[in-house]
Symmetry: C3
Subunit: 345 residues, 3 copies
């Protein structure tokens, strides 16, 4: 979005920007979100408005330190029940931070993606693979966007760059006893993350990430560890290919013995562009998770195809996905269809 952000002027040397993304789609989940087991959960087609608005302001503090800030709303029609029913239309829902940058890299304090999740989200969750790949796993071993995070992103060293982060959990519903509300944390709950990116031969980029947490999401005695490796390749004649594998484990020491859960997942995405017309096909799967080495028969997968057309900077798309998902609602399989349009400004 940096390239698109609209600079509304300079004031006292501050660059101030308002920016946003317009993103609308009509989607029908069919039985894929619980309707196989409970037909009432099949709610029919709905409109999802994932548009958001943000603000940025910054200026140079010293010759080699720029100070910058960002405040961004969430999707304007969503509610985050995991955080106590916060409406997406509040400012500070998505990446919201104050940072410093220079030719030494940049460091941000606040609410940002973890380095590993950033790779999970892009390029490996699109088109429409997130319900399995992002948040569909049966073993939880990574955060996504976290409020209590300090994250460092290196400058490019030739074709290489990396990111490091340390943060706290804030997944508990903030309670009235919290002195500061949203940015809750649990004593002894910390996570550590890293990512590395390397590009070679001008056509292949390798991505790797890892994330370790103690007292994951504030659960005393639950430690987690996960890693991801992946690549993106630009092939001749308009073709492209990307794939990633991730694996994680959770050790629950609450009881008399430690219970170890593990799960592996992968995502494979091909694309083809014929001028302004693009096609994307993705497949992702969570393999059966294991608890103390015993398989749990909980594998799920999504295969999804997308057709898109670039016209004067807009990219309307049609996406059709077959979801085979097993979650707390049982096994729910169906075709999900989405038609949408998105643009940043």
């Amino acid at each position: 979005m940096g390239a698109n952000a609209y600079q509304i002027g300079e004031n006292n040397d501050f660059n101030v920007e308002v920016y946003g993304v317009a993103a609308i789609s009509v989607v029908s989940y069919g039985d894929a979100i619980g309707g196989d087991v409970n037909p009432e959960l099949n709610k029919g087609p709905v409109i999802e408005n994932e548009s958001r608005i943000g603000f940025r302001a910054g200026k140079a503090m010293t010759e080699n330190i720029d100070v910058f800030m960002q405040v961004e709303s969430g999707y304007v029609d969503n509610v985050d029940w995991g955080h106590g029913g916060v409406h997406g239309g509040v400012l500070g829902f998505r990446d919201t931070f104050v940072g410093l940058k220079g030719d030494w890299g940049k460091v941000r304090f606040g609410r940002v993606l973890t380095p590993m999740y950033e790779i999970i989200d892009w390029p490996y969750a699109n088109p429409g693979l997130g319900a399995s790949w992002d948040w569909g796993g049966d073993v939880a071993y990574y955060y996504d966007r976290q409020s209590n995070t300090i994250r460092y992103d290196s400058p490019s060293f030739g074709n290489f760059n990396f990111a490091l982060a340390v943060g706290r959990d804030d997944d508990a519903n903030p309670s009235s006893q919290s002195s500061s509300g949203q940015d809750n944390a649990s004593k002894d709950s910390y996570f550590y993350g890293a990512a590395a990116h390397y590009r070679f031969a001008d056509m292949v980029t390798l991505h790797a990430g890892l994330e370790a947490a103690q007292d994951f999401r504030g659960s005393a005695d639950v430690d987690t560890f996960g890693w991801l490796v992946g690549f993106e390749a630009s092939l001749p004649a308009g073709f492209g290919l990307a794939a990633a594998y991730k694996s994680g484990e959770s050790k629950d020491k609450t009881g008399a013995t430690t219970v170890k859960s593990e799960q592996d997942s992968y995502s494979v995405i091909g694309q083809y562009w014929a001028g302004s017309l693009g096609f994307k096909l993705g497949y992702t799967a969570n393999l059966e998770s294991e608890v103390e080495g015993v398989k749990q028969s909980d594998e799920d997968s999504i295969i999804s195809g997308q057709v898109m057309y670039v016209v004067n900077g807009f990219v309307p798309y049609l996406r059709v996905a077959q979801r085979d998902i097993i979650d707390w609602r049982g096994e729910n399989d169906d075709i999900v269809v989405r038609v949408g349009l998105e643009y940043g400004f």
Copy 2:
């Protein structure tokens, strides 16, 4: 507001605007909101801040398709308990959509007014008639602002134009099981709406609207239908007159037999301008509703007068209304006094 919106510039061909309305008033409801029955509900005078802020961004996609979006907050001091306690200060509370337009009209996807409710709200609810006319009825048969709506507005064909909409209910309090939060919907709950406007002799405009819903507000087996006709007339010597009649029914098929409820309502508003000084007088009534043909002794009415003065684009006003309202709190009659100021930017 379109005319007033402030364009903050162009970026990558996008027109980006921030706009808003400042609207403050001091109001005393007296016993009109329940105090007749329960004196504790008479809370004394309060300040209502109905100000809101919005953003727009768009550009041409093709020669005859412009893409546009709008995100607007609610009233900055309100809470919408009907939607789970969403604060008015969130973005996305009022009309929030992405749309396409051209000389063929415009279509919007997202959160907009229904065609019939748009007429109910203006010109027939001002000054201060809404508590009976808008939302005071005893038979519910129309939505107001709905998230899951696709609405088409025609261009002007001479003096005629029309609007069509199809949408879903989202009145249920979004639950944690919802995949997308705010934009909830219930299976099989749909509504269909239309409006038409015709102007003749340069002084009279006719308005008509209708709205039909199945599984209204997500209630299985409750179907509704309603219609409205009205006119506005500019009379000589600074006088004006407007009146509308609406009628609706609700069929509840939950039990062994279908229960049919009906209610009719009307609104009549006269105005007179002497230079910058304006007067408005309105009367509205909900007639007795009928359940299976049996009258329910639940009629209510409001008579309201308003004095306003235009000064350099501002319109401060004083409004005095006699409300005779019967609702779930019992019969509550009193005079409501409001002093306020409103301006768009």
Copy 3:
């Protein structure tokens, strides 16, 4: 912030501004927020993002009346549980009003600080004294930011100016029976406030404030009264000194006999600037409260030191405070450390 606000242009004669404050800090409360009694409440270091975004728009209405409005969000990562869990990222959380001004002063309608609390907050709560001085008292006798307020601020009469306010409580959690949500009020609950400021010899400013309420915070039969006196002095050689004393009482007439509670508090702050490097040292204490003349052994205090450095308009700071606090969680003493950066735009 007025001087820093960024004017994004004029539209139809309206000046429209977007402004904001970026404020980030890393803070460790140690045991000071309950950890002495309940170690689980010691949550370890967290990041607090007190950044906020606001909008202003106004223009002249007559030769001597300018109309202005402001809408400001709260801290983007906070939640106000006292008001029903409103997220700080909503618009309308901090000072949000419509007002009129001229050479006769200014009057604001909406959500503003009370005149006395404005003095409590500045200059007497910084650095880091608020947990005792602002909101740590055992006898509640003043509001802070109130929605249902009309506040008048005089122009300067030479070195003197004053402010007057009248308002309503809105501390109750808004309920679904409220017609207007957030701006709730209780019948017969009113407050009255005043402040005066006098500067002499170009180096000393005196501040005084008072506030009286009936049915304080909507509690029938609880009346309160409080006052504050203080001074600020610019001393030679970069030194400065400020101190204030406040005293208040609450009379609870709920039972058969009136119960009177009283408490006194003071705050003393010294500062020293050596060029761009500044030091601040503050001490505040709530003296033992008395209920019907009986001392309650509930005194608390904070001593806090701050080092700050001005660099190109930014002021990074380090603050270390020893808190000795007795509240509903018991006695909790510890050192609070905060490192932060703040700037307005």
